[in-house]
Symmetry: D2
Subunit: 246 residues, 4 copies
């Protein structure tokens, strides 16, 4: 398939998430929604109103909150869709823990653990797809997500033989819009959101925030870097480092 | 003392909370800060930087969260100030509970319980004062607090013989400003704020809010009224009903 | 009324709690069950099977757990009985807190706070009764409750003019028997019991216990005394000090 | 190695856990303590007092409580030992979840999930050992563990080519003895034990118990079977079915 992604990104920049999502589901067969168990659940609700049959996957790092596992299953039942889990390789987890224990990320950074529990399983999954759909938003991180387009070639996961397209239908929505959608449409949500959590990742690497604190403060808070980014979206960092996108 | 409160309100409308607070503490001897155990704690921090000796009182309704009692005592120790508690009359509480149980507010509204546990103790306390200082802010309630001045005659608690002046030094501050002050000045705060609570009142009448939900949704949520207001500040409702202030 | 309490205690020593409770309710009109919000709830269940009309009171110290207030009200609704609350005198609470803060018991012992919040309200209530019924059990405290009779003159609260009789229908039951009764009879119970709490008192003065730890370890744990006793039952201590009962 | 296990079981039946543990560590090189993250932590404390160098492994099912992961790492640091984790095969977890979701055990029993997340990883680990050490106790389950010996041929995991010996040093200890050991020796313990948990397994399959409820009620409580047993110790069921051991 030949798509001019740059052109599409401009054409759809001001369109609704639902239109971007419809474009994605229309253009690609081998496409799946990446569902983290947080407020990106609205992508599933939107997709269910576009077509009956769509794919969803979640990376189960083995360290998610109990509440997140509950939401994943609740979504599976509520929308009547199969839940595809991608799980880390046991040998890689075993080797890391034997060498460094279960909380090495607090000492030497989250990249190694994320690499094993999130990035490599994601790469394995993306090798079977031509495009994926994420819940990334510009307002989630002023330093790393402020310029994400609604659709892009995924520079982090494409290879010379296999281009991966990444759709970000919520790129231009604010957190307030997402939550209004959830409440109005009665979308199931993670009960952690009633306990002070905004951003939700792995249990040991997520914390609650104070009122008016930016949600990015809830992730990898022990690390100094301004440009904290999830391994899912490391291309955001590449773009920043190049100085082009900022 | 003869003060032109209307004139002062205009003069101080755009001044910093600290200046308003200093005015209050300068002009009145029989004055006290009303501390609810929530983010109005910054009034105490500000006062402690203006003078060594100031008064603080809290209404202990007998139904506060354990975390709130802990903050009250932490503030007492941190600032080295006596903590004055005003407690409901035992006979009034006993009579209400015998007649209606411990959760009658869910059935017939919060006014009766608030009247006994908050408003009458407050009235008893205010009878000993000429002025009080509150943490009210315009952004706390679009329907009842949008026009509160920085200083006013307290129409709810003044009598024909005894005028009470009410200072609202934080009237024009946003929640974001309050929280920036707390973080920058390392002010002790209620640990409920790390568990999803923004607005904090009595335990059965306070709940957490979802991300981006207005904090007023956290109080008396079972009541339909748009103009929900705390008994402390019922004059806000009077003003609204008159149609003048809105 | 002339009752030979010593004789009754012997006669009923080996009888079921229900028989002791029936005796109490038969012999006295001015009698009430003291309900703490813990597993003594079974006294209410038993009484409801003996007669339709009986009295229950609880001391609301103003520092109970939210879960305990919920149980008190649930019991009120479940059994269709009025809930009588006895509340501390506001001036006494206010004076203690102004002088010593809200957690003075951790520094100088629980007696002063218990005196104000539990014992004096209880004394005020007992002045209107001829007898009361408690959930005390021998197995609750090896050092202070091992010899409590099923009925006794209440040495702690009787005066020269007014004798108070105290019934302890559960004196000889074990914790295991109480819990079997609760489960078999589907009696409502405090949800704190599902969170590791066995003994339940005021929130700041109660904690969970480890598996196999004696429930008395959950109360006033910062005090060294072996003979820790609740102000309700201080006569237990008197007996022990005299060396007679041990 | 030729050991008469039946003879040893009789000889050590009345010996202390420490003596049984020393026997195990003396007789086998390829031996490891199976640590579940619950009160079997005392095996590690005891072993650390016998020799500096011993092996410990834990099955990380990917669904443990956050508190359990914390204890595993705390033990690793406290005793200065490497923590060996055995993790499920990703393809098996992925297939089960895709077909049945994340909570299939509530519908069709815990065996399938336990098979994938616990038993097969355990079998893989035991294939590298000649003996293992467990925290099983007779008092943990009246129906399935009442007759476990202190050492036995592991009928569940031995093959015709490879005999596995299983040591149960705590077989004859009561829960009360275990907890006395923990308290006296200041052994780190799972903080779930302060929240009402006695027996601890996977998060969705473990619950708190009421006071005096048997700890076995906390596991797989939705299943009717009297003979509930963990996949680790399925040989206990085999023995019972044969009618010999009961």
């Amino acid at each position: 398939m030949q798509l001019d992604i740059t052109h599409l990104a401009l054409e759809y920049e001001n369109k609704d998430p639902q239109e971007i999502l419809k474009l994605a589901l229309d253009k690609f067969d081998r496409i799946s929604i990446s569902f983290s168990g947080a407020e990106d659940v609205i992508l599933i609700d939107m997709a269910s109103k576009i077509k009956a049959d769509f794919n969803v996957f979640s990376i189960d790092t083995g360290r998610l909150h109990p509440e997140t596992y509950q939401l994943l299953d609740q979504v599976r039942e509520h929308y009547g869709i199969p839940l595809e889990i991608v799980f880390p390789e046991s040998s890689e987890v075993e080797t890391l823990v034997k060498e460094k224990g279960l909380f090495s990320f607090y000492r030497d950074g989250h990249q190694e653990c994320c690499g094993i529990r999130k990035v490599r399983p994601l790469r394995r999954k993306l090798a079977t797809l031509d495009a994926w759909i994420t819940g990334q938003r510009k307002d989630q991180s002023p330093s790393t997500r402020a310029t994400i387009p609604v659709v892009q070639i995924d520079a982090g996961f494409s290879t010379s033989n296999h281009k991966i397209v990444k759709f970000n239908p919520l790129a231009n929505w604010s957190s307030a819009q997402v939550w209004q959608y959830i409440v109005v449409n009665k979308v199931p949500y993670n009960t952690l959101h009633t306990k002070g959590f905004i951003s939700i990742g792995c249990e040991p690497c997520t914390r609650t925030v104070l009122p008016n604190q930016h949600e990015r403060e809830a992730r990898w808070w022990w690390e100094e870097a301004v440009d904290k980014e999830c391994g899912f979206h490391k291309a955001n960092l590449v773009r920043n480092e190049s100085g082009v996108a900022r």
